[in-house]
C-alpha cells in the first residue's frame, strides 16, 4: 500500500483549517490527509475553496484557524519559500510563469533551492558557482527530456502556446524536487490532445518519481480516471472524501454539482 511508502504516517495533514476574509468564510473546518506517493484530487464547484486551500498549504495565505502539518512538521506560519524548501511545489490556476525568461531559465529557477553557492560565489563566478550551476543544468535537462520541452529550450515562455506554458510550470515545480506536488486546474484551457498527454505526465510524476500529487480538479472525467482518492469541497467545507467510485454516487456531491450543472450543461461529470 501507498501508506507504507514513506514509512511513518501521512505526508500532509490539514487539520480543522478555516480561512476567513472579513466576514466571508473561504474555508471552514477543512480536514484532509495526503499519503506519500499518493495521487488524489480536490474537486468542487467554482468558488468551493480549492485554490484557497492550496494557498494555505503553500504559505501564501495564513489559515485563521487550524494547523497544517507536512512530514510531521507544522508549516502554517512559515513563509512560502521555507515551505517550498521542505518539499511542496505547486502550479497556478492562471499560469504564473516568469514570462520574460526562457524555458531553461524558468526551470533553472526551480533549482534555486538546490544552489549551494552564495551571492559572492555568483558575483565573482567562483569555481564553486560553476560546479553548482552546471549540476543544476544537468538536472533541468532531465526534466526537459521528460516533459518534451527541449525544442523550446531558449524560447521566451510568454511566446509559447498555452498548453506548453502549463507544462513549463509543471517542469519548474518538478525541478524543486518536491515530495508533494499541487496542480491547480492543470488542464484548464488545454485541448483534448494536451489533456491526454497531461494524464501521462501526471502518472509519470507519481509512479516514476514517487511524488505525491494533489490535483485541483477542473476536468471531472480526467479526475475520475486517474485519482486514487477524491476530496470534494463545497462552499469551503469538505463534503466527501473517498475513492472515485463512491464519490461519484454520493448524493451530497451530486447535489453540490447539480446546482451549477443546471446552469452549465456543457460541464459533464
Amino acid at each position: 500500500m501507498r501508506e507504507n511508502h514513506g514509512g511513518a504516517g501521512p505526508l500532509l495533514e490539514v487539520r480543522n483549517v478555516s480561512l476567513q476574509f472579513g466576514g466571508i468564510a473561504a474555508l471552514t473546518d477543512v480536514n484532509l490527509t495526503v499519503h506519500p506517493g499518493e495521487l488524489m484530487s480536490v474537486i468542487g464547484p467554482n468558488g468551493a475553496g480549492k485554490t484557497s486551500l492550496f494557498n494555505c498549504i503553500t504559505g501564501l495565505y495564513r489559515p485563521t484557524a487550524g494547523d497544517i502539518f507536512f512530514g510531521g512538521r507544522r508549516i502554517n506560519g512559515l513563509t512560502a519559500d521555507r515551505i517550498a524548501a521542505l518539499g511542496i511545489a505547486r502550479t497556478f490556476q492562471n499560469i504564473e510563469l516568469f514570462s520574460h525568461m526562457t524555458t531553461l531559465d524558468n526551470l533553472l529557477l526551480g533549482r534555486h533551492l538546490h544552489m549551494r553557492a552564495g551571492f559572492f560565489d555568483a558575483a565573482f563566478a567562483t569555481r564553486r558557482w560553476w560546479r553548482n550551476e552546471v549540476a543544476q543544468r544537468r538536472r533541468v535537462e532531465e526534466i526537459m527530456d521528460m516533459l518534451d520541452l527541449q525544442s523550446v529550450r531558449h524560447r521566451r515562455v510568454a511566446s509559447l502556446p498555452y498548453g506548453m506554458q502549463k507544462l513549463v510550470e509543471v517542469g519548474r515545480a518538478l525541478a524543486t524536487e518536491p515530495r508533494l506536488l499541487l496542480l491547480d486546474e492543470p488542464s484548464a484551457g488545454m485541448t483534448e490532445e494536451e489533456k491526454a498527454d497531461l494524464v501521462f505526465t501526471i502518472r509519470d510524476v507519481q509512479e516514476e518519481l514517487g511524488i505525491a500529487v494533489v490535483l485541483g480538479g477542473d476536468d471531472l472525467r480526467m479526475v475520475m480516471e486517474i485519482s486514487q482518492r477524491i476530496v470534494v469541497l463545497d462552499r469551503g467545507r469538505v463534503i466527501a472524501d473517498d475513492v472515485p467510485a463512491v464519490v461519484q454516487k454520493d448524493p451530497k456531491v451530486i447535489e453540490a454539482y447539480l446546482g451549477e450543472e443546471a446552469m452549465d450543461p456543457a460541464r459533464g461529470a
Partner: protein, 337 residues
Amino acid sequence: MTQLIQRYEEEMALVRGGAAWTGLVLLLGALAALPWLLPGYYVYILNFVGINVIVAIGLNLLVGYTGQISLGHVGFVAIGAYAATHFIRATEASGVVAALGGPFWMAVFIGGAAAAVFGVLVGLPAIRLEGPYLTIVTLGFGLAVQQILINWPAVSGGRIGMFVPQPALGSFVLGSDRSLYYLVWTVVIGMSLVAFNLTRSHVGRAFIAIRDSDIAAEVTGVNLKYYKTLAFAVSAFYAGAAGALLAYVMQYLEPTMFNLYESIYYLAMVVVGGLGTIPGAMFGAVLLTLLQYGLSHAQEYLPVIYGGIVILVMALEPMGLYGRWLKIKLWMKTWPM
C-alpha cells in the same frame, strides 16, 4: 556562424565565440587608447560617463531586473561620495593605509559599502510596500539625504563645501584627468563584470523572477525578503562606489550637487538604454551623459530634452536602444529574408 554547443560551460560563458572576443578586445583597446587621443576636457567628460555607467548598471539591477523603481539613487551616490571623502581625509596620514597602496581603492569600496548599508535600510520597507508606495519611500530618501547634508555642516562642510584630496598610489599622485580616467574605467570594467556574473547566475534569475511574478518566485523557493533587500544593497553599492569616484573627479563636494534631478537622470539613462539589460544601461548612460555635456550651453533646456527623449523612446521602442540594436542584429542575421 553559430557553432554547436557541446558543454554547459560554453552556454554559460559571458563571451561566446571568436567574433565576440575580437569585439571585446577592440573595445578594451579603444578604452585604453582614448585618453591619449582626446584633448583633456573630453577625458574629463569621459570620467563622468564612466561614473554614470556604474550608477546606471546598479540602478538597472534594481529597476530593470527586480522591478523596484528608485527615485532616490542620488542619495546613495551622495552617501558614497561623503563616506569616501571622510575616509580619505581621516586616513591620509595613516601609515598602514599608505602601505596598502594608498586609500583610493579602499575609498571606492568604502563609498560603496556605506551606501549599501543605507540600501538595506531603504530596501527593508520594500518587503511590505510595492509599486508607487515604494517609489515614494525612495524619493523621500533621496530628498532627505540632501537636506541632512545641507543642515549638517560637520559632515558636508556647510556652505564652504568640502575639498577632496587627490588619490595617490604611494608617492604617485593620480592628479591628472588621464590617470583618473584609468581609475574610473578600471572600476567600470570590474563592476560591469560582476554585474554580468550576477545576472547570469541564480541571483539574477531570482531578481527577474521577483519582477515577473513574486508569488511564483516565493513558492519556488526564493526568499523575497532576502532578494528584495539584496537588490537594494547591490544597487546602492554601485551608486556609492560611483559617488566615491565622483568625489575624486570633482575634487569638491557640496550638497546641491545631489538633487532630485540627478535621480531622474539616472532613471532616464536606464529607461532609454533598455530596462533589464546591462549593455542597455551602459548605452543609456553614455548617450545621456554625452548629451548633457554637448548641451552645456543650453542647460536650462536639459530637463525638457531628457523628458522628450524618454517619451520618444518609450513610445517607439519600449525595450530601449539596446532592444532596438538586438532587433537590428536579428534582422541582419536573417537578411535577405
